[in-house]
């Protein structure tokens, strides 16, 4: 008993299984990089690495919020549509007021409000998150289309565009944002009471409730955060492509979900990490980057992505076996 006690004085509260998975996943990234490096001489250049990081930032920001939702055994299919609407609103606010800050506030605010709505549908109205957010996706898309009426908003002040295309000390801005939210997300999940409660809810909502955890409120929070992150992501997109269009968020949702799953977060809730999601986002981005570098027929992209998702999760299940 004593020795046992001493051994886990330093050890974290997470199960060793998580560590195992993180290891497998990093291994995957390394292998992928090694492969690409041998195939393409430009892959390992600093520029390209920064480039990959910048591209993964967008995916990660959406996926990081989603990770929390999936930790509670929920799902948010509306983030793509959320990005679109938030981006369009933010864009027009910037256009009208000329104030980037106001625009950013709008984008994040809009995202958060949408998330809040999702949270209410799931908790107060008890609609399964899968369906609630699916319906929400359609409604948001409708509003976006209606609002944009097929037009494009473009040309934002340079200081705002720095957020997407700017550099600081030779590193692209989005990378800083990504790192920042990796830390915030990680701390929130691992080092706050709310984070712990979220894990508990994912593991067993009934127990959590009977242990004095305000399950409904935490769920609403989680969806709101997921929405806010989508809002943030929308700003990055805006700043990068310098324009907003109704279809901006299309086909961003499934990749984000894939990133979370490849990142080792379980759909059944209670286990997973934000850091894992970053790795997931990196893997998916690396694949696309590699394909462009090697100029592989883009038709291969969905196929390869699909195979990678399967592989990653299969390795997980194996890791769990060994872990237990």
């Amino acid at each position: 008993m004593n020795t046992a006690a001493r051994t886990d004085v330093r050890s974290r509260f997470t199960l060793s299984r998580d560590v195992m998975q993180a290891f497998y996943r990093l291994l995957g990234v390394v292998l992928l990089c090694a492969m690409l490096a041998t195939l393409s001489d430009v892959f390992l250049t600093t520029n390209n690495i920064l480039n990959v990081l910048r591209q993964s930032a967008l995916l990660f920001l959406m996926a990081s919020g989603l990770t929390l939702v999936i930790l509670t055994a929920g799902l948010d299919l509306s983030i793509g549509a959320n990005v679109a609407l938030s981006a369009c609103l933010a864009a027009s606010v910037i256009k009208i007021t000329g104030s980037p800050l106001l625009g950013m506030a709008t984008g994040i605010g809009c995202g958060a409000v949408i998330g809040l709505a999702n949270g209410i549908l799931v908790t107060a109205l008890r609609i399964p998150s899968f369906i609630a957010t699916y319906g929400m996706m359609w409604m948001l898309t409708g509003v976006t289309y209606y609002y944009m009426a097929g037009e494009t908003i473009h040309g934002f002040p340079p200081e705002f565009r720095q957020l997407g295309s700017g550099y600081l000390l030779g590193v692209p801005m989005p990378v800083y944002v990504m790192v920042l939210f990796l830390l915030i997300g990680g701390l929130f999940a691992q080092r706050t009471v709310w984070g712990q409660q979220i894990y508990a809810i994912g593991a067993n909502p009934v127990t959590a409730r009977l242990s004095g955890v305000p399950v409904e409120r935490r769920l609403v929070l989680v969806y709101a955060v997921s929405g806010a992150m989508a809002g943030l992501a929308s700003l990055i997109i805006l700043a990068r492509i310098n324009s907003a269009q109704g279809d901006i968020g299309e086909d961003l949702t499934l990749p984000a979900i894939a990133a979370v799953l490849v990142g080792g977060t379980s759909l059944f809730g209670g286990s997973g990490t934000v850091a894992g999601t970053l790795i997931g986002a990196l893997i998916l981005t690396l694949v696309l980057n590699g394909m462009n570098l090697l100029q592989i027929n883009s038709s291969w992209q969905p196929l390869v992505t699909g195979v990678i998702v399967l592989l990653a999760v299969w390795i997980d299940t194996r890791a769990r076996r060994i872990g237990e």
Binding site: R126, F130, I131, G142, A149, F268, V309, L310, W314
Partner: protein, 316 residues
């Protein structure tokens, strides 16, 4: 809770109203506001349009009852229809082509089943993966082009009628009754309820859970193959984007129909109503010339309202 026999086994009590109410409201609303709506021609039109989605929603109901999911079904449909088109053009034999399409469905169904049952990969992820694979294959085979030049004999399957009833409706009706029989009158169906409700019960009864799971996904794949036939006949061609996103429409229809994602609590008739409700909504809005953007929002509203009503019912 009523306790009158068989009906209970078929209808999850709390669920009955939602979709029915919505459907009635929609039909009443459109019937009043849009003259063209309540005509036999239009009703036939709505039903025909709903057939392909129904062919996907039926197996989706069964799959969801096993606490599973099949995100690949739309992409499999697409790939199957491409294979069908390519084969029929190459060989000129519709039968062979149809078998090929079924083959594709079978393979993907089998693949999903094995990955889920044997490799223990959660259905959502498995089928998300196979979705990518099917989509990729479709693009690779066609290079993004539609496949055209299909003999009329295939188109007949969609446009033809028997005794004034369009073939698609007959096929869909058959599919529905077959699925109903499977679900409520065969061992397969009984074990589907058990897969979602209590797998331990199956094990104790000495029935292979894995085998059953695989069968369920194979059923999904095969139905996708049938749907591919209708889709190809309808477009008189095959296109690598034709079925994109249909899996979510199907899942939504099932959920709207009152099948819950837990404990094998499913309701096949609800799925049928759900599919029709979506069809009626789209058709009615088109007849009213409602702007597309509003239509998009309405579809979302339909899904949420239907489940909202169910939720309210479930409370008491």
């Amino acid at each position: 809770m009523s306790t009158r026999g068989f009906s209970l086994a078929v209808l999850p009590v709390a669920r009955v109203p939602g979709v029915a109410i919505v459907l009635v409201v929609l039909c009443a609303g459109f019937g009043v506001t849009s003259p063209g709506f309540a005509t036999p021609a239009n009703i036939a039109n709505i039903l025909t349009q709903s057939t392909i989605l129904l062919l996907l929603a039926l197996p989706m109901t069964v799959i969801i009852m096993t606490e599973g999911l099949d995100l690949s079904i739309g992409a499999v449909l697409t790939f199957a229809s491409i294979v069908l088109a390519v084969t029929v053009i190459a060989t000129g034999s519709p039968t062979l082509a149809f078998l090929a399409a079924l083959g594709v469905g079978l393979c993907f169904g089998l693949g999903n089943g094995v990955l889920i049952a044997v490799f223990d990969i959660p259905p959502f992820i498995t089928t998300l993966g196979t979705l990518g694979i099917a989509q990729g294959l479709s693009l690779l085979v066609t290079d993004g082009q539609s496949v055209v030049g299909i003999p009329r004999s295939i188109e007949q399957i969609y446009s033809g009628t028997a005794a004034g009833i369009p073939f698609p409706i007959i096929i869909a009706a058959l599919a529905y009754f077959i699925t109903h029989a499977l679900l409520y009158h065969t061992r397969f169906g009984t074990y589907v309820f058990a897969l979602g409700g209590n797998r331990e019960a199956l094990r104790v009864a000495g029935i292979s859970v894995r085998g059953m799971l695989i069968r369920v996904y194979v059923f999904g794949g095969l139905m996708a193959g049938f749907a591919a036939l209708l889709m190809t006949a309808r477009l008189n061609s095959a296109h690598p984007t034709a079925g994109i996103g249909m899996e979510f429409d199907a899942i939504a229809a099932v959920a709207v129909g009152g099948t819950s994602f837990e404990r094998g609590n499913g309701w096949l008739l609800g799925t049928l109503l759900g599919v029709i409700a979506v069809g009626v909504l789209r058709n009615g809005l088109n007849l009213l010339a409602v702007p597309s953007s509003v239509q998009v929002a309405c579809i979302g509203a339909l899904v949420i309202v239907a489940l909202f009503i169910d939720g309210m019912r479930a409370e008491r």
